[in-house]
């Protein structure tokens, strides 16, 4: 349609009985742009920090397969996306000035013809969430690395993932994914991220602990150079270094030599896993004896090293212990609690904490989770938690 003229605008003002003296001289004549009804535009409400990221030129990514709820990822954070409906109509208008902008610009145009780019009665809302990282381990476990002698790696398999692959499949930000790869001791082999098959990992660890023993090295000063020299004929050098990095802290001494301070707790824990995975349940005191005998000289086993790995039953006679890995449990809060209550009807806070700690969102505590998902009662003078509803 034809653009409105000053005369038409003034006539409308007169009909409306508005006094032009009380108005700023500039007027916006709003009309609908050619694509306004097409629905290609939508609104995304920004959490603090995201606006600054966009203004700094960084991109955001929406990730999610058809069966997943979409999340939005910045470089280092993940957000749930939800549609919020408004009862009002939201029109988005480019080039529309505020009173401040009009007052600041004395030469502003008398009539500003503004085209409405689009309109909507809903927008995307964001809420910071835990990155959905369980899938990462699941993908890498499709084809764990069994060592160079394994026949498996000779065949072409599509169960291998590069960083790019993981970025497009995992609902988490890049930094969160890279951090998690470190946490689970993944390593890059020929450009693909791999997790070591547990038996192979134990084989590598055993080479190292036996060498430490035969060389009588201090556990806090294991030399990389000698490990590579002595073990290089048995295993690839990258794997020797990888196992040292996984189970030790790397440092360089004043002479520039690389050493590792071995993580006693992590080594004891791995050996416990190796023992526990061979049976459903163990007599606790028998297990503790075998476990202590199995770890390298100089290391001391403690039950608290097994948090989130094993569950002790103090109510059975004799007391027992069994393998229960937190990473095998569901990622969703309600499903996690259901699964824990299926395993055991009543939990003390001390026992359940290692199995729900990872569910805590940014400012949440284990206490708030328990209040939300469990019911408490007293049993023999001890506070215990059970399910809020019957578990099938």
């Amino acid at each position: 349609g034809a653009m409105r003229s000053r005369a038409e605008v003034d006539a409308t003002l007169q009909t409306a009985k508005l006094n032009p003296e009380e108005l700023l001289p500039a007027v916006h004549c709003l009309s609908f742009g050619p694509q306004a009804g097409a629905g290609d535009c939508c609104l995304l409400q920004l959490e603090p920090g995201l606006c600054a990221e966009l203004e700094a030129g960084r991109s955001l990514v929406i990730r999610g397969e058809k069966d997943e709820q979409a999340v939005l990822c910045s470089k280092d954070k993940t957000y749930d996306m939800k549609i919020a409906d408004t009862s009002n109509m939201l029109l988005f208008i480019p080039g529309c000035k505020t009173p401040e902008e009009l007052n600041a610009d004395q030469a502003s145009c008398d009539i500003i013809h503004s085209q409405i780019a689009g309109f909507s009665n809903h927008y995307w809302e964001l809420r910071r969430c835990r990155p959905k990282l369980k899938k990462l381990r699941k993908l890498l476990m499709e084809d764990p690395y069994e060592g160079p002698d394994s026949q498996k790696d000779q065949t072409l398999t599509f169960s291998k993932y590069t960083t790019e692959d993981l970025l497009s499949l995992i609902q988490a930000s890049e930094e969160e994914i890279l951090h998690q790869l470190q946490v689970i001791d993944a390593c890059k082999i020929e450009g693909y991220w791999r997790i070591l098959e547990f038996d192979y990992e134990m084989k590598l660890l055993n080479h190292v602990t036996q060498l430490i023993d035969s060389e009588s090295w201090s556990l806090s000063k294991v030399p990389l150079r000698t490990c590579l020299e002595e073990l290089g004929s048995l295993e690839p050098r990258e794997m020797i270094e990888h196992i040292l990095l996984s189970y030790g802290r790397k440092y360089i001494d004043d002479a520039g030599e690389v050493y590792f301070e071995m993580h006693e707790d992590k080594i004891c824990r791995a050996i416990a896993q190796m023992l526990l995975q061979n049976a459903v349940k163990f007599n606790l005191s028998e297990f503790r004896e075998v476990w202590q005998q199995s770890v390298p000289d100089g290391m001391t086993t403690r039950l608290d090293q097994l948090k989130g790995l094993a569950l002790v039953d103090k109510t059975s006679r004799p007391e027992t212990i069994c393998l229960l890995k937190v990473e095998d449990l569901p990622e969703d809060n309600q499903e996690r609690f259901n699964s824990l209550f299926r395993i055991r009807e009543k939990w003390t806070e001390v026992d359940i904490t290692p199995y729900i700690q990872d569910l805590c969102a940014e400012k949440q505590t284990v206490g708030t989770l328990l209040t939300k998902y469990a019911r408490s009662s007293m049993q023999n003078g001890v506070k215990v938690y059970n399910s809020r509803r019957p578990i099938s």
């Binding site: 349609g1 605008v9 409308t12 003002l13 409306a16 508005l18 009380e22 108005l23 700023l24 500039a26 007027v27 004549c29 709003l30 009309s31 609908f32 742009g33 050619p34 009804g37 290609d40 535009c41 939508c42 609104l43 995304l44 409400q45 920004l46 959490e47 995201l50 606006c51 966009l54 203004e55 960084r58 991109s59 955001l60 990514v61 929406i62 990730r63 397969e65 058809k66 979409a70 009862s87 009002n88 109509m89 939201l90 029109l91 988005f92 208008i93 480019p94 529309c96 505020t98 401040e100 009009l102 409405i116 780019a117 009665n121 927008y123 790019e164 692959d165 970025l167 497009s168 499949l169």
Partner: protein, 117 residues
């Protein structure tokens, strides 16, 4: 499946748009759709109060600085497939930090009825 939100190319940073929030629904007055049709005239009083004249109604509103700004996303056609399937690309075309909120009931414009002579 992944969808990318990237800055639209353009010198001088992201465009700044304004949101106008109205009660009710937008419907074309004439058949033939919305494109090109007029909504109304937007004035501001000298005190900075937005006044919108839409058809036979006057709406008084207020300028609100948004606590949480909006990004305007424009969907582009799906690009080449990535490892997880076809990828959609959204371009962040503008940021909205201000809205004009018209919540008051519209005042109808009553045209003068000439006196009978």
């Amino acid at each position: 499946e992944a969808a990318f939100l990237s800055r639209s190319e353009g010198a001088g940073g992201l465009a700044r748009w304004v949101l106008v929030e109205l009660q009710g629904e937008v419907e074309p007055r004439q058949s033939g759709g919305l494109a090109g049709s007029l909504l109304g005239d937007l004035h501001y009083t000298r005190e900075g109060v937005p006044v919108l004249i839409v058809g036979h109604h006057i709406l008084y509103g207020k300028v609100v600085q948004l606590e949480k700004p909006f990004a305007v996303l424009v969907k582009r056609r799906a690009g080449e497939s990535g490892p997880a399937g076809p990828q959609t690309h959204y371009t962040v075309t503008a940021l909205i930090k201000t809205k004009l909120l018209f919540k008051t009931r519209p005042k109808p414009i009553i045209t003068n009825v000439p006196k009978k002579v």
